[in-house]
């Protein structure tokens, strides 16, 4: 009995599940606290907890190697990280799916191949993904210094996808609005992002 209670308490501590739901998210809302996580393995061989990231702005992004939308927007993600180099911003990718081509060995290979320049975690328990309500890849979650959700949704106004021909197709033509980049910049300037939510577009995440 006590063991069960300790396990339940540990789970509650591990996942500080936010209350409510956003416009495009059934679980988390703007202003909710970031779910904590611990001991997630990364493609760099390390193991990370939420307390390891102390930047003024922390961006979590759900990814999946197999997903054509992720592959189509890999370059944009890498560019986003580069654009904030030297500033107090950290970007952390995480993968949730259990399919072989999305698990850690494939994540390592994919990250090397495309040049991921950020920490890339494997959320095998899917607890982080569930607590964030992350149901699409890619889906961005931008947290402020107090680790409150300030923006969630798309990278830009023209999501890109890898086609069967291997080309990258932008859904709405040239990208003109960079939601995630602008949200980060707003937080660094002491402002709130506007919009705070957009409808993420991508592959669905498979929860076991």
């Amino acid at each position: 009995m006590m063991r069960r209670l300790r396990m339940a308490a540990a789970l509650l501590l591990f996942i500080a599940v936010p209350v409510g739901a956003g416009q495009y998210n059934d679980i988390i809302s703007i202003g909710d606290s970031m779910p904590s996580f611990s001991g997630l393995p990364a493609t760099d061989g390390g193991s990370y907890s939420s307390s390891d990231f102390d930047a003024d702005v922390l961006v979590l992004v759900s990814l999946a190697n197999h997903c054509p939308w992720v592959r189509g927007m890999d370059a944009g993600l890498i560019e986003l990280v580069e654009s904030f180099e030297g500033q107090d911003v950290e970007v952390v990718g995480f993968a949730v799916n259990h399919r072989e081509d999305d698990r850690l060995p494939a994540m390592i290979e994919h990250g090397k191949r495309v040049g991921y320049n950020f920490v890339y975690l494997f959320d095998e328990s899917q607890a982080l993904g569930r607590a964030l309500g992350a149901t699409r890849t890619p889906e961005y979650f931008v947290f402020d210094k107090a680790r409150k959700l300030a923006y969630t949704g798309l990278l830009t106004n023209s999501p890109a996808r890898e086609t069967r021909d291997g080309d990258v197709m932008f859904t709405n033509g040239a990208q003109t609005t960079f939601y995630t980049r602008d949200a980060i910049a707003a937080l660094l300037a002491g402002d709130q992002p506007d919009p705070a939510e957009t409808r993420a577009q991508g592959c669905s995440v498979k929860y076991e």
Binding site: H66, T171, G202, S204
Partner: protein, 182 residues
């Protein structure tokens, strides 16, 4: 064929998908005639209206949606069984109208799939389609009752409420209790 047993053609498609790892590259799908009827959003509404009175299951999918493709064999089985009970199964493809290779693949996939479906493709940009149909991700299964009312919207938009084919079957059985009553 036992319930739940995928058709051979669908199984071959699925096997190709799994062994490929990412999106299946089925060159045999190229240059096939259009299997899907191309519709606008308004025309899609009229398609649904024309099927009344009758229960409709609409499976929304796209060639880039691997989980949509993986679950298709189970939908074929459901369609085979429930079409005998006056349930209409439709597919609505959301491949981008500019994505020729995706559309060609989808036509080839459906041609080999079998099942008693009506196949449609939405001639609309994905962002516009998602806004208009209020979608978050694919797959989505919509179930309309005999009056045309959307009674069930099965999605994977909540990590804690992911739908399965058992949910579709349960929803249909519940609707059919009323529809089949003497």
């Amino acid at each position: 064929m036992m319930p739940g047993t995928p058709r051979p053609a669908a199984l071959i498609m699925l096997l190709g998908l799994m062994t490929c790892g990412t999106l299946p590259a089925d060159d045999s799908a190229l240059d096939r005639p259009e299997v899907m009827q191309v519709v606008s959003l308004a025309q899609w509404e009229r398609v649904l209206e024309a099927k009344q009175p009758g229960i409709i299951v609409a499976d929304l999918w796209a060639s880039w949606c691997v989980s949509c493709i993986e679950r298709f064999p189970k939908m074929v089985d459901l369609a085979d069984r429930f079409s005998q009970r006056n349930v209409t199964f439709l597919t609505l493809n959301l491949d981008d109208p500019q994505d020729a290779s995706g559309i060609e693949w989808s036509n080839g996939f459906l041609a080999g799939l079998g099942g008693t479906f009506g196949h449609y493709r939405l001639d609309e940009n994905l962002t516009v389609a998602f806004e208009a149909l209020d979608l978050m991700s694919l797959p989505v299964v919509l179930i309309h009752d005999g009056s045309g009312k959307e009674r069930h919207r099965l999605t994977n938009d909540n990590p804690n409420q992911q739908f399965t084919e058992a949910d579709i079957e349960a929803a249909l059985e519940a609707l059919l209790v009323g529809a089949e009553a003497p």
